[in-house]
Every structure is written in structure tokens, then in C-alpha cells.
């Protein structure tokens, strides 16, 4: 990916030194964490925390995508987690199918009469779907046996959904808060649909056991976690590079112009809707890829993951980190999601005021809300903007 994106404009990296700095920092971070991880023997960082860090990198990637669509193109999408979730379901289907297939074949290996392929499929279907009272393999699982096809779907499904949704919405010139509401409706509808048991994705049970990678079951989780951590870091690096290239140069110029005054851009002869569609779809695809890397580390995906609120959090991360600068999105997503898991995971000590005890699992959202208000009031350009200000001021 990196090669093709770099080819058309020589010297892109030399013109954008901040991209190189970001990639350097990311590489440094990856090396230090790897060296401290359990999988390499030092073991200062536990496997579960390594997974948190790997997942955080995936969240940073979707935040970068969100920054491109909102901070650069001015489309406040409050539905990008739908694409993230679809990516997660895409990889989850293969993980569950292939692992169950392994178990089924192992147990049938000792049977006196060898099982037919049809019987194997039925046994797999029963294993996966008995929880929702079904023994049939739904037709959307038709590709689940093949990793390659399923990987293709991770790109195609979010991409096509974004293309169709975006085409309909942009063509009708739905903008601003109306578009945000429409994207919320999209992710809500998808989440409600998936909550039903008969949709073929196990309803509210979701897909589970995703941390077990078929074919690699003999490897310890500490190693698997490290691989996924590397993959997430690589994806973030490539995604960052792709989007940095996209928003630089003339395309970025037109996209920012659309954000600032879309009707003026029309009078310059640009078909605004096509540009929005390209940005919306490209960011949806990257969100899907981020989701496909996130959920094997999380181990489980269910429809609650794409509830409307998650996409709103995404916008909050980007706003806190600083819109319109890609590293701002990374700072925002990393800071807020790590703080969130610290506060809600019982990491933060509760404060006993005598008459009242502040329990952080309850109060974290209040703190986040106050933080959001403070950032909006005092640093409208977010932490990234503050960062710029400090760097530029000698």
C-alpha cells in the first residue's frame, strides 16, 4: 500500500516531515512495548495490557479516519463504528467457523464411519448456532470457510455500505446536523438488526472466542497478542500514511475547501458529491480494517459495539485530540480510550469523601464530559492544537 501511495508524488515525505516523525514515534513505541512484552520474555507488560495497547492502536486508526471525514471534509459522521463493527464481524465469522471446524473434525475423526462434508457442515452449524436455536448455516456464512474471501468482505461490505449510503445522502444534499442524524440512524438500525437472533450473526450473543486463532492454537496468547499488536501498529502506520497523502496536495485542498464553503467549490466546477463519496468510502474501508484487527484482540464482538453512542465517543476523541490534524486524532483516541479503561477497569482508586465515595466506574463519564467541555471552551483546536501552540512558540 505504501509504495503505490508514494509513487504519484515524489518527495511527499520530505514535504511533510510531521508524517515521518509520527511514523518514527510509532515504530519506537512498537519496539519498546515489544521488548517489554511477555511474549519476548521480559514480561513487564502483561499480555492483557498488550492487547489493550494493540486495541488502542486500532482505535487510533479509526480516529484518524474520522478526522479525515470530519476534520478535513466537514462531514460529521456519527456512524463510523458501524463500519468498524462490520469489519469485526467479517473476521469473526472466519475465526469462529474455522476454529469450530477444527473441533468438529477432531471429534469426528474417531467415528467408525468417516463423516461426509455435509455432516461436517451441519455439525459446525449446530455448534455455532444452537445458542440461538438454529442448526442451519445462514447463507451469509457462505464464505466463512475461506480466510481470503472473508478478508475481501472486510473491505467490500463496509465499502459498499458507505458507497450506497453516501451516494443517497450526498446526492440529496443532506448536510450538517441532518447528515449526522442520518448516520446515527444507520448505525442504530444496523445494531438493532444484529440484535435479532435470526439475522445469522447470533443476535446479542455476538461472535466469541475470537482470540483463538485457528491453526495457531498451539501458540501461547502472549505470542498471538504480540503479532496482533504489530499488525495493528503496521495498519495504523500505513493508514496514517495513506490519509496524510490523501489530505495533502490538491485533493486535500479541495476537500478542505468543501468543508469551509461547499457551494463555492461547486461554482469552481468541482462535483462536491463525488469528493465526499470518495472520502466517506475510503474512511469506511479503513474503519472496517481497524475493526477486523481490533476484535481478535478483544475476543468478542456483539451488536452493542456498534450502538450509536460508540460513534459519538469517536467524535469526542477526535474533538479532544484536535480536528484537522491527523496526529491530533491519534492523541485524542489514545488518551481518552486508555484513560477510559483505567477509570472503568478499576485502575483508578476510588476517593472517599467521608459523606460520599466517588466510584470512578460511575463518575468517569462525568469526568469525560467535563473534559470535553473544557477542551471545547479553552482549546477549541484540541490537545493537538495546544501541542502546535507550544511547539511553535519558542
Amino acid at each position: 500500500m505504501a509504495k503505490t501511495t508514494l509513487a504519484p508524488r515524489k518527495g511527499f515525505l520530505s514535504e511533510n516531515p510531521s508524517v515521518l516523525r509520527f511514523l518514527g514515534l510509532l515504530a519506537l513505541f512498537t519496539i519498546i512495548i515489544s521488548a517489554l512484552a511477555e511474549g519476548f520474555g521480559v514480561g513487564v507488560i502483561s499480555t492483557s495490557f498488550l492487547k489493550v495497547l494493540g486495541m488502542t492502536l486500532c482505535l487510533c486508526l479509526i480516529a484518524v479516519a474520522m478526522d479525515v471525514v470530519w476534520g478535513y471534509c466537514g462531514i460529521l459522521s456519527l456512524g463510523h463504528f458501524a463500519f468498524f463493527g462490520l469489519g469485526g464481524y467479517g473476521i469473526g465469522m472466519w475465526l469462529m467457523y474455522a476454529r469450530t471446524e477444527g473441533i468438529v473434525r477432531e471429534s469426528l475423526a474417531n467415528a467408525p464411519i468417516p463423516a461426509t462434508e455435509g455432516e461436517v457442515r451441519d455439525a459446525i452449524a449446530t455448534q455455532i448456532f444452537s445458542v440461538v436455536g438454529s442448526t442451519e448455516l445462514p447463507f451469509i456464512w457462505g464464505f466463512a470457510h475461506s480466510l481470503t474471501l472473508q478478508l475481501l468482505l472486510i473491505v467490500l461490505v463496509p465499502g459498499l455500505l458507505a458507497l450506497v449510503f453516501g451516494w443517497l445522502a450526498f446526492r440529496s444534499r443532506v448536510t450538517g446536523v441532518y447528515l449526522s442524524i442520518l448516520t446515527q440512524a444507520m448505525t442504530l438500525a444496523l445494531s438493532l438488526y444484529l440484535f435479532q437472533n435470526d439475522t445469522g450473526l447470533r443476535g446479542n450473543n455476538g461472535l466469541s472466542g475470537l482470540q483463538n486463532i485457528p491453526g495457531l492454537l498451539h501458540l501461547p496468547q502472549s505470542t498471538i497478542a504480540l503479532w496482533f499488536f504489530w499488525a495493528s501498529a503496521l495498519a495504523l502506520g500505513l493508514g496514517y500514511l495513506l490519509f496524510a497523502w490523501l489530505v495533502s496536495g490538491k485533493f486535500g485542498s479541495v476537500v478542505r475547501a468543501i468543508r469551509d464553503n461547499e457551494s463555492r467549490v461547486r461554482f469552481l466546477g468541482y462535483h462536491v458529491e463525488s469528493y465526499k463519496l470518495v472520502v466517506f468510502t475510503a474512511t469506511a474501508i479503513v474503519s472496517g480494517i481497524a475493526g477486523a484487527l481490533y476484535y481478535p484482540q478483544a475476543g468478542i464482538i456483539n451488536p452493542a459495539e456498534i450502538a450509536p453512542i460508540t460513534s459519538i465517543y469517536l467524535a469526542v476523541w477526535v474533538a479532544i485530540g484536535g480536528r484537522g490534524r491527523l496526529y491530533g486524532a491519534v492523541i485524542g483516541a489514545a488518551t481518552v480510550s486508555l484513560l477510559s479503561s483505567w477509570f472503568t477497569g478499576g485502575g483508578a482508586p476510588n476517593i472517599n469523601l467521608g459523606f460520599y465515595e466517588i466510584v470512578w466506574t460511575d463518575w468517569w463519564l462525568v469526568l469525560l464530559g467535563l473534559g470535553f467541555v473544557a477542551v471545547t471552551l479553552f482549546f477549541p483546536k484540541g490537545i493537538g492544537g495546544l501541542f502546535d501552540y507550544l511547539v511553535r512558540k519558542p
Binding site: P8, G249, R256, D260, F267, H271, V278
Partner: protein
Amino acid sequence: MSALLEVSGVSVTFDGFRAINNLSIAIGEPELRAVIGPNGAGKTTFMDIVTGKTRPDEGRVLWGEASLSLLGMSESAIARAGIGRKFQKPTVFEDQTVRENLAMALRNKRGPFDVLFYKTNRQARARIAELADEIGLSDALPRRAGDLSHGQKQWLEIGMLLAQDPRLLLVDEPAAGMTPAEREHTTELLTRAAKTRAVVVIEHDMEFIRRLNCKVTVLHEGSVLAEGSLDHVTQNQQVIDVYLGR
């Protein structure tokens, strides 16, 4: 001189108010034309109709040798067909540099993938330098457009119009808020542009129009009241009554 733009029998109503009433105007190429009229005469609505922003209730708007109908075309398609527009309030992209503003307007392929893989070249850079020189912003190329003075923004917008290389320029109050020296320069820019293309200027300022020294169309209540040289229309009793007499 054949008609480049032909507006005939156009009417448009907003909430019962007839903004344009059976309007017919023909613009040749090359031509410099001034459109004047009191507030609410329909000057800006006329531009909105030609550029595709407003759809008329009836009438025809035909363009070019092939008499292409502009009705039903999108704003961007009309712009690509060769009609450029400058707004009353200068609208440049303030967050971007003068160079970026001009580069965006420069006549080139407009599709998203063409633009994504666009590489600037010597020709484009030369054209930008030439335009910047023409609008007096050579030194301001790397500056943020938002930091320019009001008059400079007006020029930048005119420069962006010229960069589009349109056959017809629609210019809404180009001299508003300009100093006399700046007005002089603007007059010069417009008359020079009108040597090779059609330029339609909406203006309130009679002195400015006198300097343009061109055919004048007077609009009143959405239709043409008088047309001819400035001296001709200013002697028209109806024009004096509705506009100049006040």
C-alpha cells in the same frame, strides 16, 4: 458577435414574490456588460439562474454555439461548461494560501481521482505566477487568504475566476469596499478580460460603470427596463423614475 448566453422569457417566484418576471437578456462574446437596478430588481437572482443555483419556473437559458440548455445542469457542470462567478461578498478559502486558492481554480480536470493523482507542473506554476502578477498578489502567494485585505480578497477571487478560464464571467459588485486606486485596477482587469470573453458586471456604483464604458442593462422588478449606453439609459424617463430619480 453571436449570442453566447441567451436568457429568454425566464420567470421565477419565491413564496409568491416574483423575483424575475419574463426576463430576456442576450450576452455576446466578447462583450462587457453592466447590469444595474435598484435593490430587489433581480440582479443576483439572474446570476443564480445562470449558474444553476436557482431553477426558474419557466423560460429558457441557452449556452454556446450548440445552444445547450443550462436548466437541469448541476452548478459544477455549468462551471465546467465555462461560466465563472464572483460573489458579492468575497468568498475565497480563507484557511488556505493564495497559491492553493489559485491552484484549485486553475483549469484542469475536476474529477476526484484526476485531482488525487494531480502533480503540479511548470506550466501550472507559471500560470499561477502570471495570474498573481495580474491581480497584484505576487508577493502574497504563500500567505493565508484569510490574512489578505478586503480589496485583495476581491482580486484573489477575480484571479480565481480568470484561472478557471471561463468564456463568461459573472461578477457581482466587484468594487464594493475598494479604495479609488483599487477600483481603477479592478476596472482595468475587467476591461482586459472582456477583450477575449464575455463579462457581466453587477454594480451599484455609477462612477464605476461609467469607467467600464460599456452597454448597460437596467433591471426593474425582475425584467429589463432599458438597455443601451449609460448615457442612453440615464436619459430614459422610466429609468429616472424608478432608480436614478430617487
